[in-house]
Amino acid sequence: MKTPIVAAIAALFLLGANAQAQAPSDAQIASIVVTANQVDIDAGKLAESKGSNAQVKAFGKQMVTDHSGVNKQAVALVTKLKVTPEDNPTSQSLKSGGAENVKNLEKLSGAAFDRAYVDHEVAYHQQVLDAIDKTLIPSAQNAELKSLLVSVRPAFVAHLEHAKGLQSSLGQKN
């Protein structure tokens, strides 16, 4: 259960390390944003179908809706700006961390699935939020890209609080 969380955190630590070494370009930020959302959409889809607790399923469904909405907006912006998202070590790590999380979750069921999914969502949103604050917003050059990051940031805060609430309610039941 810990492995995918470690993978996701490692991916985002890498993002932090990158920030110190070299700030990502707008094209790289675009790729990181789209990947970070897609990773959460994939996990959310799984929770929608495999979750056992109704609140966990509803949270998964909301993650799919919210992050799909953010991605639609992000893709529309980069298309308008004629920026082609550029694959980079951070987006690659996010992608492989996300795939590993899904692989791990697929092996679980019932309360164990719910707990693993929600634990990962808490860690993931916290780390993405840190990346948004410490790396993505400070590095974004284009004003509209920066503004998009600023405007979607509160969604990550809301999701993190929601996931933490679920985490404590699941904890109380077991």
Binding site: D66, S151, A155, V157, A158, E161
Partner: protein, 114 residues
């Protein structure tokens, strides 16, 4: 006898209709019903607090790329307002009504109806 009862019922019906008409005219005339907008953007209701008069219309406009709600338990509930969608509500109950988004409960607003 039967005829009288019917006539009475018709008369009473007419009185009710006339009263209802007068009431509805009075309400719209008295309120001068204004329409107010609350924009939802970056998970905030703007303005966060809105004062309106009874009979006014409030429209929540969602400019975020995902759904929100405006929900004051037992007073009003928009249900899901989709991205780029809106929801109209006629404020009828006076009072201070705090509301939230049920999907993102850290979003808070207040509707004051005078």
């Amino acid at each position: 006898m039967r005829f009288d009862v019917r006539a009475g019922a018709v008369a009473a019906g007419l009185v009710v209709c006339a009263w209802a008409l007068a009431e509805s005219r009075g309400a719209s005339a008295a309120a001068g019903a204004r329409t107010h907008e609350i924009v939802i953007q970056a998970l905030q209701y703007r303005p966060e607090t809105l004062k309106v008069r009874r009979g006014d219309v409030v429209v929540w406009i969602n400019k975020d790329p995902f759904p929100h709600t405006a929900t004051a338990p037992k007073v009003f509930d928009s249900g899901s307002i989709v991205a780029d969608g809106s929801w109209r509500f006629t404020a009828t109950r006076a009072g201070v009504h705090p509301y939230i988004c049920t999907l993102h409960p850290n979003m808070k607003g207040t509707l004051q109806v005078e």
